[in-house]
Symmetry: C2
Subunit: 567 residues, 2 copies
């Protein structure tokens, strides 16, 4: 892609899941997401791209803090406004493309704004629209003209995706987007033939069709993901957001005959193997119907190293019967962590933009009679060298399935992970815990004010809090959980009257949600799973082998999916 | 001011306390503040003003909702961007004027923004800066270039106010601003000679000096307001925000020889007499050293009528011994309210922009042996005709001091007002109530994350909630409060462990605040008082009678206040 005719070539910077504001209050990691956003915007500027395309979750929180919004706005204004001319036109009806905006036109055509790099973004599950107005954090950036939020379907029944039709020189690009929708609902809509992608009537073969989506790509349940096969086969390239592992090199779907690029997040929001893959963004060039995607490694991303340790594999060093075995195990883990830190240091040599302290995770399988050692004491030794001292060690039990971190394949622990612990703890103490920390308020807002995301927010807030709480107390086993719960219950003598009120409110809330076709508990849990188990790049097995050559404009697909045309 | 030379005349739209987002979730009043902001901006556009000057509290909430921010941004972009040329220059060092911004220059000189009406605003006590970054809601509007936030002093020790020096034709305008600071702290700083207003070295007599401030103007306590005498006498006009009563016609301070205009809020945020004054904004013209302030009545403001009723004054109609006296009193009040509604209807004739349902408040003094009637049943009769059916009637006791609503003088009830009830209730149940509804969370955020406004937020949230709660239950007497508290206490068996934790956290928080020179309880209570008792226009009595003619540039003032010069 070095000497293509620049006048006919779209240069698009592709990134996703920037999660602005993630851990912003952490003393060490607080600026990570801000630094990386800046790196991404600088990169777009340096490469003089035509536009930036984001695949959702620009914001980590549905309601970002003031600092987060302020930083986002400031950076976009700094890097995306200026005098560089925009060299492509938009041919589609912008009032349709940006139908949820009060300024339904692309920002660079607004005569009051001098935009140098337009940003196009769909919303993710973290920054999805809520409230009576159906606004999301992106819409704030949209209202001040810094982002073009597209792909926001307002119906929960039926989706019609109208592309933004762009032309640069002779190249025609149709940009489709679909903001995050609960996977199961979208799955159902696909199955029920309620998702239509509109196409221009004329010259269909001339368009390069680019589709951005923010959904589960790996299968989390029978209908809790979107199979690639659901997507229209006229698409040329899918930019898949939401999945955090960087698998940015386009992979070909041999059934649908399109390519999928999964840029992955630009920050690790969990300490799972998928997040340990080196983070990249992409520079996509499209000329005519040809494309090229150049990987650009991100330099501001904090290093993350993860290793597994099965204690039973080191019988020459210790067995459960060895005197002072727990101390020996701890020393062994200490050495392993030091090794990882040193590896990180070597790798970081010369990378001035990379933060000093790496993220380190050692997963220790202690099945076979070993005892976990005291994690908080262990953590103390690394406060100066590691960005996440408190959760370096992760005890797990009974490895039932071999896993291969290096290969980054789907991992399955049947032992307890922190996430599992949280889930269990959460389910067990449920109502009383919720009561304790603000559920009353959430319920009241929900019922009184139709603040429909109050409960979801609270639940995810609780999950996060609980996780930190358990980690802080070094809870690693099921017994520990029970002890914790006992402690909690003893510390609280529930009253009947208030619990009754809350229970009633919850029931009303649930009924309301069910009417709307949601499932509160399921929704949040699946959300949580999505974050912790996205370390997979296994595509679902194709239903049928590819039997046809690449064809366009044909009415294909056994599901008889609706195929629309733009008027 | 009709035929002044337009090229030399600053035209400035003056408004304050717009309280965007106030009651935005109310079904009837939800859009009031948005409609009025739009009216104000349209008015600025129609009158082709040079700029808009706001005196603080543009936002009602410190952390405005997404809808509120979105609406604010959208309207400012709609009305304040465009092609009208800006006809004045800024001569001062903008890096100093806008020193808290990442874009420290006036928005209309930003080459990437096409601004037609620059907005200059100080922050109020509702939208004041918080958090480690010292950001306020205005700064979000600032970061996207829609507002010029000025007058934000970063020191808590010493304040130096550098004016924005503007020139239009031959007229020179020095715009000073000081964003809201707790009154007692600012009082102390004035007394300790720590407030300096810088002046240009050259041609001091040529400047028109305009000062915007957002503080208590009426005396709420010995040091809980800012006496006009504290302000420098070289000032020509003070635009006084925070006080909600519209007293926009400039009044002359005969000691300091400057004028003060108090535009008042553009929405009634309490049902007190001061808020019943007709709401206006101002069109200020400044040419050379002369000024003219034109009052512009706001048409979108919801009507508010308030009346007092002393039952003991109607002995010909009923006494406490009259059979069915309470029913008779209720009927009498009903007739009064109907009268007020009809008066509102007559007044609204032809005013298409004015909302249909008025705010009505009837203060019923039932001292002398009368009993209050059931307020909630009464309210039911007015749900279709009044915007605030639930709190029309306000029972008070023992009128000790005559008050004159028409004259809008300082009112002093020694009986119980809703606000007093709330305060009492709040103080009595204090800790347990806080624990109940989320204090744990607030404390945790406060202590863990330095989220220093979390508690303040919660306290004000609690005050509001409690007020609604008490109103809903028809609590109007002290006995009722005690009953409520008993009910509450019985419904809750406090645990020792958690209360201890919370108490400790509160103590730590308090200590932290005291260090910073704040007083948590005092701060919030005074805040609350400010809102409910701002129905006064009495200036504090001058310390000494005016004895001198208007003079400039002299080292005056017995307090020996620092007088600075701009370099």
């Amino acid at each position: 892609a070095s000497h293509v005719d620049i006048q006919d070539t779209f240069k698009i910077l592709i990134a996703t899941d920037i999660h602005l504001g993630y851990m912003e209050k952490d003393a060490i990691r607080g600026n990570d997401t801000y630094n990386t956003l800046e790196e991404i915007l600088k990169c777009a500027q340096t490469n003089q791209v035509d536009f930036i395309l984001l695949g959702g979750d620009l914001f980590h929180e549905n309601k970002p803090s003031r600092r987060c919004l302020h930083t986002g706005i400031t950076m976009l204004r700094k890097y995306c406004m200026g005098d560089s001319p925009i060299l492509f036109n938009i041919l589609s009806d912008q009032a349709i493309n940006f139908n949820t905006s009060k300024f339904p036109w692309v920002n660079y055509q607004d005569e009051n704004l001098n935009i140098s790099i337009p940003v196009f973004s769909i919303h993710g599950n973290h920054d999805d629209p809520t409230g009576a107005e159906g606004l999301c954090a992106l819409d704030l950036l949209g209202s001040c003209g810094l982002v073009n939020h597209f792909g926001h379907s307002q119906s929960v029944e039926k989706i019609q995706i109208s592309p933004i039709l762009m032309q640069k020189g002779s190249t025609k690009l149709a940009l489709y987007g679909l903001g995050s929708i609960p996977d199961e609902r979208l799955y159902r809509m696909f199955v029920n033939n309620q998702v239509t992608m509109l196409r221009p009537k004329e010259d269909q073969d001339e368009w390069f069709n680019l589709f951005t989506i923010h959904q589960n790509r790996s299968k989390h349940g029978p209908t809790n993901y979107i199979p690639e096969q659901f997507l229209d086969d006229f698409i040329d390239l899918v930019v898949w957001g939401h999945e955090h592992e960087c698998l940015i090199a386009p992979t070909r779907n041999e059934q649908q005959l399109f390519y999928v690029t999964q840029p992955g997040s630009s920050v690790a929001t969990s300490l799972s193997p998928g997040e340990a893959a080196k983070k990249h963004i992409g520079l996509l060039r499209v000329k005519g119907r040809k494309m090229n995607l150049q990987k650009i490694p991100l330099q501001t991303v904090r290093q993350f190293f993860i290793q597994d340790l099965v204690l039973a594999d080191y019988q020459d060093l210790f067995t459960p019967d060895t005197p002072q075995v727990t101390k020996k195990v701890e020393d062994f883990c200490y050495a392993k962590v030091i090794e990882m830190i040193e590896e990180a240091e070597r790798e970081r040599l010369g990378c001035d933009l990379t933060p000093e302290k790496p993220l380190i995770r050692l997963r220790v399988d202690y099945s076979g009679g070993f005892e976990p050692f005291n994690v908080s004491r262990f953590s103390q030794k690394f406060v100066d060298r590691v960005a996440n001292p408190k959760d370096i060690i992760h005890f797990v039990r009974r490895r039932e399935q071999k896993e291969d971190i290096k290969g980054l394949t789907q991992t399955k622990y049947t032992g307890l992970r922190v996430e599992d612990l949280v889930k269990q703890y959460f389910e067990k103490v449920q109502l009383s815990l919720l009561t304790e920390q603000g559920m009353g308020k959430a319920i009241q807002e929900f019922v009184d004010k139709d603040e429909k995301d109050a409960i979801e927010e609270l639940v995810s807030y609780q999950l996060e809090k609980t996780q930190r709480h358990l980690q802080a107390r070094g809870v690693t086993t099921e017994q520990d959980i029970d002890a914790e719960i006992l402690r909690f219950r003893n510390s609280k003598k529930n009253t009947t009257e208030e619990d009754e009120e809350i229970r009633e409110a919850i029931n009303r809330a649930k009924a309301h949600r069910l009417e709307r076709g949601d499932n509160l508990q399921g929704l949040d849990m699946s959300d949580e799973l999505a974050d912790v188990a996205m370390d997979s790049d296994e595509d679902p097995a194709p239903v049928a082998p590819p039997t046809r050559g690449r064809g366009r404009g044909r009415g294909r697909g056994s599901r008889g999916r609706g195929r629309g045309e733009l008027s």
